[in-house]
């Protein structure tokens, strides 16, 4: 029978590395393999390295040269397989292999310690010799490589087992290896064997990242306490000498947890880290289970302590991490982080106490009021169930990154861990120490968590980056407060918050009331994470801010309502350089303001933007209807009197004349002053007479103000009338100015301000209100209280009712007198502009003298008796009220005769006159008419300015009185010493006051317009009677003044009034 098994061989003869070679070709697992012999010709092995991989020679020459075998082989083995060429020396007792793969290569050869001894000048030689001496080593292996490809498995001889190369050296360019047997009986070997239970070890000496490292592998140890695997001790040389222990160990009582340890000791400090990563939480006791755990202790400049742990309590899972650094006496927090699955008090009871409350509704209702929940991604599509069940990291990461394209959330598949939890999986982003949960139906949420790191560092598998991250939902009594805040230097700032709709009676917070919440209208970036967090079906206020190096996005939508008085709605979006602002505010359901702005930020400075502002005052008008209705009624009656008037100016004049009614009111007040004098005690009568005389003077000033106000209004209307007569020559500007004057004269109601104050106390039932308004030439200032119920029910009615109540007496008076002509009643006195101006100047002096005398009188009394008399307060209040009346009347005058409104128009006319006169084309008659109007205007303006000056003078006098009142109050509180009154004191005081009165009110003043106290017989009589009763003798000066005061004509006010009484 013929043997059918056929063998085939292809043989190639040629030159390799310039040496004759015979190569046989074959196949292995379908791939070509070449092997053969190179006739090397007894050249040294060093030449092999040079010819095959010169780069290796350059990189490792210093380390390997002295260690290479000193042989000169005749033949070299050659092999080529899978792109790797291997050259080896095939001589008895020599191990030398060199591999070449692409640009890189690797070299392995053995040497003896004597060889290394020749390298004593090099660091490697020193360490090898030290280790060889220490351990008694003889045969060692040198492995080196050029390039990054790790080729040891390909060139490793079968007789040595160096599979467990420490990770530390796998990236090393070279290392020396030897296997050491601890079966000897030397003291060292015995010690190591006893202490560590070691019987053998592998020793590696190589180039690590920080210098030459010597590593001793520790074989698997298993005893009743722990089991170790892949443990090795390492000695790293370099700037600092370090010893370390690295590898894995398992405690027998926690056999499901394998701890990876990394411990280093150096001259600078000590570093220990043990980390356990579990496939599933390991039961401890009761409901507690332990998940991934890490402990780190590091000493250097200070002590650093760090740890993290995943703790499971029943179905709940809590992650906690902390890192503290102790520098001197200061403990610095480097890291603090925690993350929770959805948790509530009820969950804690169920899981911690193992109590089932499912059927105990009463208990559940009482304790289930607070929860901490994760934050849902609004637009993330569901994760595939198979993906979740199979823990497909790549699939899950791709799905996540596709949905959440924002940089600050992108996951790295190599830095993600998946752990089974409650039927779903917990996804941990190791790069950011961030925790997500994907439930069994595929919905993802950011777990409630917080993170604070003050420095960049590492802890276990986690990378710690300096920054802050907080997120979660606080569910309090069913109200969900959502928050997310992230900040770190590389990814920027991200902040999101949603406050639910809250109604605390006095404060309501919620979403804005804009009803156009169309997501497509928002100028969001395509990949903005904002989309994940904004819930357009929101029931609360939403805030979002994302700020990165070249991009800032901002979003706010919310509304606030303060005790129903003020409602503000706002929505602001800033994204991609575009700004969109919607703002709407409503006050008391009275005033509505709406602002819309859409602008490209880059174009903003060029003025390219859309802007819309709407202030809706129609409601204000409606609300004030109730206020003005009563006034309108009164005005209607007034207007009936002048229904025959055809021109608006006549009507205005009629209105102005209504100011005469103020005179009646002032006369009534003057009469009241006389009453006060009659009721004063005998010896104080002089004081009271002076004070009331001063007050009467103030009312007379106010009356002068009425005439001046009417005068200035009349003058203004005359100017307007004159301007209208100019006919076709009148410009639009003049017409508008005239209209302004007429409206001013017609104006009878000004609402100056309304202030409402309320404390944020829902139990308080009323508001404090300050209202200021001017009606019919009179200013009303008053404080009142408005009920909260009334204001909430109908704020407009509540306000108008209050104003009407204040107006009522004056309106009634107005209506009752409307049937007769106020004009006729008060027309008995009329003054020219010059007279009015003169009267106002005199009025100013009158009030200055009055205020000075009153203050002098009171101060002199206090100086004499060191006590404040009880009547001072009433005197001061009365004078201040009279001054306020005078000021208000003059203010009304400036409003009803607002000549200033004509100033521009008149200046225009004046220019026109000048131009036309220069050109000489204007007819004289028309020119004269304009000149007349201008002349009237100049006169009116003089009076208007004088009224304004007087108004300010009244304000100044009021201020002086206010200061005086404060001074009196202070003196009153200091008045501990009360001097007993004597006749001498009283005489001196009376003399001083009478003398001062003659100074402030000289006897030669006529008193035609305003009272002259020095010439009032009643006051003189009071002083004389007081003297007579005490037997006092007046000074010569006083006697002279009294004589002088009796001379000439004087219209007596006080005596006459008293007589009339």
């Amino acid at each position: 029978m013929i043997n059918n098994r056929i063998s085939c061989e292809v043989t190639i003869e040629g030159q390799i590395f310039q040496c004759p070679a015979r190569i046989t070709a074959g196949t292995l697992n379908g791939e070509p393999v070449y092997g053969g012999i190179i006739e090397w010709g007894n050249k040294p092995v060093e030449d092999i390295v040079t010819r095959v991989d010169n780069k290796m020679k350059e990189n490792l020459g210093d380390y390997m040269n002295g260690l290479l075998p000193a042989c000169a082989p005749n033949e070299l083995g050659f092999c080529y397989r899978k792109g790797i060429t291997i050259i080896e020396v095939k001589e008895e007792g020599v191990c030398f292999k060199l591999a070449k793969a692409g640009e890189g290569g690797a070299l392995l050869f053995s040497f003896k310690r004597e060889t290394a001894a020749g390298q004593q000048n090099s660091l490697l030689g020193e360490i090898i010799n030290a280790a060889a001496d220490f351990f008694g080593l003889q045969k060692l292996f040198f492995y080196g490589q050029s390039g990054k490809r790790y080729l040891l498995p390909q060139i490793k001889p079968e007789e040595i087992n160096i599979d467990n190369v420490p990770e530390l050296l796998k990236n090393s360019s070279f290392f020396v290896y030897t296997h050491f047997d601890f079966s000897g009986e030397s003291i060292f070997i015995k010690s190591v064997r006893t202490l560590f239970g070691l019987t053998e070890t592998d020793i590696f000496i190589g180039k690590g990242q920080e210098g030459i490292a010597c590593v001793l592998t520790i074989p698997t140890v298993e005893n009743s306490i722990l089991k170790s695997e892949n443990l090795y001790m390492v000695m790293v040389t370099g700037k600092n000498l370090k010893f370390g222990l690295k590898g894995e160990f398992t405690f027998s009582f926690l056999s499901a947890m394998t701890f990876k340890t990394d411990c280093m000791v150096s001259a600078d400090g000590f570093e220990f880290e043990a980390i356990a990563v579990v496939k599933a939480p390991v039961p401890l006791f009761g409901p507690f289970k332990l998940g991934d755990t890490c402990l780190m202790i590091k000493t250097g400049r200070g002590l650093t302590f760090g740890m993290y742990v995943d703790l499971c309590i029943g179905k709940l899972k809590i992650f906690g991490a902390i890192m503290l650094e102790n520098q001197g006496s200061v403990i610095q927090l480097d890291l603090l982080s925690a993350a929770f699955t959805d948790i509530s008090i009820l969950d804690l009871v169920d899981n911690l106490l193992m109590v089932n409350t499912t059927d105990k509704k009463d208990i559940r209702d009482k304790i289930d009021f607070i929860k901490i929940l994760g934050l849902h991604f609004q637009e993330m599509e569901l994760f595939d169930r198979n993906m979740i069940q199979q823990k497909d990291i790549t699939g899950i990461v791709n799905h996540f990154n596709t949905q959440a394209k924002s940089k600050e959330f992108q996951l790295d598949a190599s830095r993600v861990r998946l752990t089974s939890l409650q039927g779903g999986i917990e996804l941990t982003d190791l790069k950011r120490m961030r925790h997500y949960y994907i439930n069994s139906s595929g919905t993802i949420q950011l777990q409630a968590q917080f993170y604070y790191a003050s420095t960049d560092t590492e802890l276990g598998d986690y990378t710690i980056k300096k920054g802050i991250f907080i997120c979660g939902i606080l569910d309090l009594f069913g109200k969900k407060f959502e928050v997310l805040f992230s900040f770190n230097e590389s990814e920027g700032l991200l902040a999101y918050a949603k406050i639910p709709e809250i109604d605390l009676k006095f404060l309501k917070i919620g979403p804005s009331s804009f009803n156009d919440k169309n997501p497509k209208q928002l100028p969001l970036e395509e990949h903005s994470i904002l989309k994940q967090f904004i819930n357009y079906e929101q029931d609360g206020m939403v805030f979002f801010l994302s700020a990165r190096k070249n991009n800032i996005s901002f979003y706010f939508d919310g509304g606030i309502d303060i005790v129903g008085l003020l409602q503000v709605d706002a929505r602001i979006v800033f994204c991609n350089g575009s700004v969109s602002v919607d703002l709407q505010t409503e006050w008391l359901d009275i005033l509505e303001i709406r602002l819309q702005l859409k602008v490209d930020y880059q174009k903003f400075t060029k003025g390219e933007f859309e802007f819309y502002l709407s202030i809706d005052t129609s409601k204000l008008k409606e609300k004030l209807t109730a206020v003005t209705q009563r006034i309108d009624t009164a005005i209607g009656k007034l207007r009936e009197k002048i229904d025959n008037a055809n021109r608006e100016i006549d009507q205005a004049q009629a209105h102005v004349n209504e100011l005469y009614r103020q005179i009646e009111d002032l006369d009534r007040k003057i009469a009241n002053c006389c009453d006060a004098i009659n009721h004063a005690s005998l010896w104080k009568k002089a004081f009271v007479a002076i004070a009331k005389g001063i007050e009467i003077g103030a009312y007379e000033v106010a009356k002068a103000g009425v005439y001046a106000a009417i005068g200035v209004a009349t003058a203004a209307l005359e100017v307007a009338r004159g301007a209208l007569k100019l006919g076709g020559e009148v410009s639009e500007g003049v017409m508008q100015a005239v209209k302004g004057v007429i409206q001013g004269a017609m104006a009878i109601f000004y609402l100056n301000k309304i202030e409402l104050r309320v404390d944020a106390d829902s139990n308080k039932k009323c508001f404090q209100a300050s209202i200021s308004f001017t009606a019919l030439g009179k200013t009303y200032n008053y404080d009142t209280e408005i009920g909260m119920d009334a204001l909430e029910k109908s704020p407009d009615n509540a306000l108008s009712d209050s104003i009407n109540k204040e107006l009522e007496p004056d309106l009634k008076n107005l209506e009752s007198t409307a049937s007769r002509s106020n004009w006729k009643k008060y027309r008995h006195e009329s003054y020219t502009i010059e007279q009015n101006c003169s009267r106002l100047e005199e009025a100013n002096s009158q009030m200055a003298a009055s205020v000075h005398l009153l203050q002098y009188m009171q101060n002199a009394y206090i100086d004499e008796y060191h006590v404040v008399d009880g009547s001072f307060d009433e005197m001061n209040v009365s004078l201040r009220g009279a001054l306020a009346d005078a000021e208000n009347i003059m203010a009304a005058g400036t409003c009803v005769g607002d000549v200033e409104k004509l100033s521009c128009a008149m200046d225009g006319l004046r220019d026109s006159v000048r131009d036309r006169e220069e050109k000489g084309v204007y007819r004289d008659e028309e020119l004269n008419q304009i000149k007349d109007v201008l002349s009237d205007y100049d006169q009116a303006r003089i009076l208007y300015d004088k009224v304004s000056d007087s108004m300010r003078a009244m304000q100044e006098q009021q201020e002086l009185m206010k200061q005086h009142c404060n001074s009196i109050k202070t003196k009153g509180s200091e008045g501990d010493v009360v001097v007993e009154q004597t006749n001498m004191d009283a005489d001196r005081l009376m003399n001083k006051i009478e003398e001062q009165m003659y100074k402030d009110f000289p006897v030669d003043r006529s008193g035609a317009n305003f009272i002259n106290l020095s010439r009032e017989p009643l006051i003189r009589q009071c002083f004389e009677e007081a003297e007579k009763r005490r037997g006092a003798v007046p000074s010569d000066q006083i006697l002279r003044m009294r004589d002088s005061s009796r001379k000439g004509n004087y219209k007596i006010r006080l005596q006459k009034m008293v007589e009339n009484q």
Binding site: I2, S7, V10, G14
Partner: protein, 182 residues
Amino acid sequence: MASTVNPISVNVGIDFSLLTTKLHAVYEKREAGEYAVLLAPSESTADKGVSMKAAIEDIKKLINGVDKEADTSQMETDMQKELSRLGDEQANGFNFDNLVVKLSMAYLYISKTGENSTVEYAFQLQIITEGVIPKEIKGLIDVDTISISIWNTQRKRITEQMGLVSVNEYLGISKQETEPVE
């Protein structure tokens, strides 16, 4: 004492031609119907080459001439399959159809014993076609010659004498790792 007659063995020198190369072998006649033919390993210097196909045909003829029942139908396929793995066919490396060879060394042993017959052979063929160097080794070696050996003998003396060592044997790779030629 009875005398015995030992059987007579006859050796006859025979000349034959293989791959256009004349070879000299020894023919040994044994008992009836039994014989053996031996071509000891010998080097040969052929003047011209033949195509690989022709060479296989010649070898097949030689084998089937001895044993008509010997199945040599797969020889060509097996060779083709084996050679094709060694190189890049697209670069025409070791393309069976392109190869031109000449015999450089041969060994043949034929033995007929009753119903049993044995054919052992080993041929070393030198490839004389230029430009068929596989791409894989172009960068590694400056090629002078490429030869192909085909053998079925297991005799160690013969394989050593002819240098017939497969690369797997050379590399010490176990048989389980390799894919044997069927």
